[in-house]
Amino acid sequence: MTFKQLLTTAVITSVTLTALNADELKGRGASFPGPLYKAWTSEYYAATGKKINYTPTGSGDGVKSIKKRMVDFAGSDKPLKSKKLKKAKLYMFPSVVGSIVLSYNIDGVKDGELKLSRAAIDAIFTGKVTHWDDAIISKENAGLKLPHEPITTCVRADKSGTTFNFTYFLNKINPNFKISKKPTWKAAKVVAGKSNSGVSANIQQIKNSIGYIEYSFKIKLGLPAAQIENKEGKFINPTVQSFQDGAKYATWTADNDFYAVISDPEGATSYPIVAATFILLPEEKNKENKEVTAFINWAFTSGDKAASELGYVPLPTSTKNEIRKYWEAKKIN
């Protein structure tokens, strides 16, 4: 029943939107920056009267839609390599940085109390460790009483940019781990949910579970999240400050359309799982592209506050200027 309803809604919305608001810009894709784009578009509407409609469906869907030119712009958490961009005739640049936290549901363990070393994270998600009181976890958590209960890992059921960025991080710890938008998980007990909200609901419901979600979902639902060992061996709490410290190490250049995955940055105070999310534009739609870049430019100038409030990290000013130069070079500013 409901899938049919979903599809019908999608069809009807697209029909009415195109028919009634032909001048409205349409975007779809990554759900990771969804809450922020929603805030940005409504503030932009209030400031300029221009309507932009972003539907957070998932990175894969965004890429697919923009390749088929169904929308004016797309969001994707997974950057596309230059070769692929050329083939599909697309421009790409980052819009904001977000982060992924490891949330858990263990009786008596509060927010930020659990410390997870790199070895422990690898062991949990590859299934080398199956119980919470295993030495590899408890070693770093002397003060905590971890139960002798099996670990349930909560993962995504759909293809996801969040999963791509998380597996990218896992791959940095353990090169054998395959980077994928939807890998086959080897952990002993796995439960999958659709989108960030599905995974969050599973973590809330399943005792002794752990899962990876976008930071704003942790904030919204008040879920406890672990401190994670970064590249320099320090345990870092997920905070906007530690995300900013990590984001500084991104190496973006216009030469490769800003292709870069920040995962596991340097720096003693950097939170290790930070990731940028990207905007894709079709090369030939010059008029619409200018409207999209005008919106993003507005967001770069006036949207930083909204971003920080929602738990995202605004791009560094130098990167923003690089992006503005990129627009100029492509004549879409």
Partner: protein, 284 residues
Amino acid sequence: MGGKLFRNFSFFSATLSFFLLIGIFAILFTYAQEALAEFGFDFLLSETWEADEDDEGGIFGGYIPIIGTLLSTLIAMTIAVPLAMGIAIFLTEVASVNIAKSVSVAIELLAAIPSIIYGMWGLFYFAPIVQSTVGGNGVGLLTAGIVLAIMIIPFMAAITRDAMNTTPHVLKESAYTMGATKFEVIKDVILPYSKGGIIGSIILALGRALGETMAVAFLIGSVMSTVKHVTDPTTSIPVLLANNFAEAEDLEMSSMYYLALILFVVSFAIISTAKFYFLGRKPK
């Protein structure tokens, strides 16, 4: 002339379901071609579902969702059929008129609740109970099956009750006057009389259970893994389709059309067998 137009239009409407049937089969078959050519019937036995990193290909097999669909439906039907029959008998023969009326209202209300509500209720209120009594994660095959059962009970009970209510009073009264007990009246008068309606309700419920998406998506765990224990998380065809449809391309998309085709053929086969086996011989 208007009469002719009316007749033609009504004829068109009536035959539409036939053309839809053919159309669905043809479209699904066409779109599944790529996967059919690549995997053939091995698709039915392969347990892997993994796309390549760039989404251009991969290995896809339907064994796990097919088994998941059949098992969750089996669990649901095993629980739901006796309970729904019990409720229907209770409503028509045991309960007083007032109780029967108020319970009927509640049941009809529940039959109208969208399945996603059952899914959410199951995840937030029922799964923790399953986890603490049977073990496992809470979400898994068993929870999905039970909630599926709860979901189709009102539906089945309401239709069965209606079917039983059509038994003429004269028949029942004459049986009672001859000294028959309630059970004998139910067994020998009501059941034979309402057999068609009851089986119809079971078939409808079966179809609903086979194709249920949202309630199961919340509860089955959506994991591509074979079930070793009844509480293990697994996946079903509708859940896999709903989770991956928006994101898939090329071969994976085709594999999903293949799965949809399998679901369609399986449910068509089960339902029409049930229908013609039980009802076919009834004179019309």
